[in-house]
């Protein structure tokens, strides 16, 4: 049975991510689940199941994310520090880390040595977050994962002027009722979201490379448009959702 030295738990607004690492920081397991409202019980249940395959008795537990206050952990560290650590260790590079999560975005400037130089987060608003796309997908009865495909294959684009998730939804409906093609509207919606993220990146000062994390980094249309807007091909980890939990686990190794 392998010994897990540190476990990072990222209790986000939409998903719960758990990563276990050994003494060298090598990932032993990753778990991603939809976040339960009772995240503390959900976490406990996952940890109990892990005991069947891993020795986690002496594991350091580091929690991050909005639900971290509810989780029993040895340390609680903010998402900014955890994402920066995870992304830096994954790419072994400083630059601009952009985490696009379910309900918030973070842009973090990381130094060559891996320090957080500066950061910016969206305010009490879902503009530019995963929820921005999810809302409309739900309203149009389109699976979220299909949204990127529609946008990528669109031969046109409608301008969505609102960056507010609620107003954008109304704007989408009004465009469709005027006869605009669905894929043009969906592409416009992606563009509005990307423009919001880009403005956050420029607000803090873009320093390449651009490194993405968070669930929305899996959306190929968002990735392509970010490249178009910034003129820089983003680096994306194989599993962008776990970067915060990975960083938390790594921070559990440091004294």
């Amino acid at each position: 049975m392998e010994t897990v030295k540190s476990i990072g738990i990222d209790a986000g607004s939409t998903t719960l991510k758990i990563v276990g690492v050994n003494e060298e920081g090598k990932i032993l397991f990753t778990i991603v689940e939809d976040a339960d409202p009772k995240v503390e019980e959900q976490t406990e249940s996952i940890l109990n199941k892990l005991k069947e395959n891993y020795d986690i008795e002496s594991s350091k537990i580091v929690a991050t994310g909005y639900g971290s206050n509810l989780i029993k952990a040895d340390k609680k560290i903010t998402e900014i520090t955890c994402h920066a650590k995870g992304i830096y260790e994954h790419f072994k590079s400083g630059g601009t880390a952009v985490d696009i999560g379910g309900q918030d975005n973070k842009v973090i400037l990381i130094s060559k040595g891996g320090k957080v130089i500066d950061f910016i987060m969206n305010d009490k608003c879902a503009s530019g977050t995963g929820r921005f796309l999810e809302n409309t997908a739900w309203r149009l009865k389109i699976p979220t994962e299909k949204m990127a495909e529609l946008a990528l294959n669109s031969d046109g684009e409608v301008k969505i002027s609102s960056t507010c998730a609620v107003f954008a939804e109304s704007e989408v409906i009004s465009h469709l009722s005027r006869g605009e093609k669905l894929e043009h509207v969906i592409k416009g919606l992606h563009r509005a979201m990307v423009k919001r993220i880009t403005s956050m990146i420029y607000a803090i000062g873009f320093n390449p490379p651009l490194m993405l994390s968070g669930g929305v980094a899996k959306n190929k249309a968002v990735v392509k448009m970010l490249e178009e807007e910034l003129g820089e091909k983003p680096l994306i980890p194989e599993n962008p959702q776990i970067m915060g939990a990975f960083g938390a686990a790594l921070l559990g190794l440091s004294k």
Partner: protein, 367 residues
């Protein structure tokens, strides 16, 4: 932790009324407390108050007016200022100037309304201008109270305020040696907004008695803005093993005035206000403000600056990008946090403050 009983605004008002004093409800920011005290008037400042239901004020004000002014008007409309005999509105910003006009032209309150026109730059002409303005207010107060304090009485009250300013500066200087949380420290400091001068002096002296040689081994922060509301920010800073080492806040440090030099009481009061620390509502230059913030960092050993800005406070907003750049050039980290004094602090805000302190600690570890 010190156990200091600080009377509430209500208790102070009731006692002052029982003693036959008049009450002045004073809106932010600068005004000469000593002038009102000389007329046996107790100034009670109205910084909102926080967590006010602003629905009645919303009907009269644009939605982009800051929550301090929104609450200030709502508080009046709800009867919160009924107890006051005088309402004082310094023209600190466009919104407060607008509030002054609303009172004068539309509300026409039963209370005596006093507006104060405040000059901007530090220069001789502005001292003369404000001196004349204070003489105008003196006359208005004399007519209202049927009392004319003489030069000696005015100077006596000015000296009292000057002494308090020295004591407040000492209180700030002793910050690291005081067994007080950031919230306790600022609760004491902000009691000046409504306490009689002697009582405030006693509280400060009592707190200073508990100053020790041991310093707080925490990460110091300089906080800049109008006021530390919601006060939960102070708890979050302390929770992260940080503390507010010094501030550049309108309700606190920006109103710790220096001693005046003139023998004429009006000129002396004017000098004190005109020559106060750099202030966005007084049009101080970006360089002046940046240098002042840097000096606060140098004096206190603080590691970064939190701009705790009330949403829609335009005078503050204009400076942020420029100040952030200037501080960055000197290797000083800063963050802008937007607040509304009527709303609880959001989880996003808590995360930002915590992440900022984590960043500062990491910076110190590498240094």
């Amino acid at each position: 932790m010190l156990h200091i009983k600080i009377p509430t605004r209500r208790e102070v008002i009731e006692k002052a009324k029982a003693e036959g004093k008049k009450i002045a409800a004073v809106y932010p920011i600068h005004y000469p407390r000593e002038l009102f005290r000389a007329f046996n008037i107790q100034p009670i400042e109205v910084w909102g108050p926080p967590k006010t239901d602003t629905k009645k004020a919303n009907a009269h004000l644009q939605s982009y007016i800051c929550s301090v002014v929104q609450s200030g008007l709502a508080f009046y409309l709800e009867g919160g200022i009924n107890v006051a005999d005088i309402i004082v509105v310094p023209h600190s910003c466009d919104s407060l100037q607008g509030l002054g006009s609303i009172y004068k032209d539309f509300i026409k309150p039963k209370q005596e309304l006093i507006t104060i026109y405040l000059p901007r730059e530090k220069n001789r002409e502005n001292v003369e201008f404000l001196s004349k303005e204070l003489k105008r207010i003196y006359k208005q107060l004399a007519e209202f109270t049927h009392f004319e304090p003489d030069r000696e009485k005015l100077l006596e009250e000015i000296k009292k305020e000057e002494e308090i300013d020295v004591l407040v500066a000492k209180f700030y200087k002793s910050r690291e040696n005081l067994p007080l949380s950031s919230r306790e420290f600022y609760t004491i400091l902000r009691a000046r907004e409504y306490l009689p001068v002697e009582l405030f002096k006693n509280i400060l002296n009592y707190a200073l008695l508990h100053s020790s040689s041991g310093k707080l081994k925490k990460t110091g922060i300089v906080i800049s803005g109008l006021l530390p509301e919601p006060m939960e920010i102070l708890d979050v800073i302390d929770e992260m093993d940080g503390f507010v080492a010094l501030d550049d806040m309108a309700c606190c440090m920006r109103r710790v005035y220096g001693e005046g030099s003139a023998d004429d009481p009006f000129e002396r009061m004017a000098e004190r206000i005109v020559n106060s620390t750099p202030d966005p509502t007084k049009g101080s230059s970006v360089d002046e403000r940046a240098d002042f913030l840097k000096s606060l960092i140098d004096i206190s050993g603080a590691k970064g600056v939190v701009f705790y800005n009330v949403k829609f406070c335009e005078p503050e907003y204009f400076y942020h990008p420029l100040l952030k750049d200037k501080l960055n050039e000197s290797g000083i980290k800063s963050i802008v946090i937007e607040t509304d004094i009527n709303e609880p602090i959001s989880q996003q805000t808590i995360t930002r403050i915590k992440a900022f302190i984590e960043m500062l600690k990491e910076e110190s570890r590498w240094a």
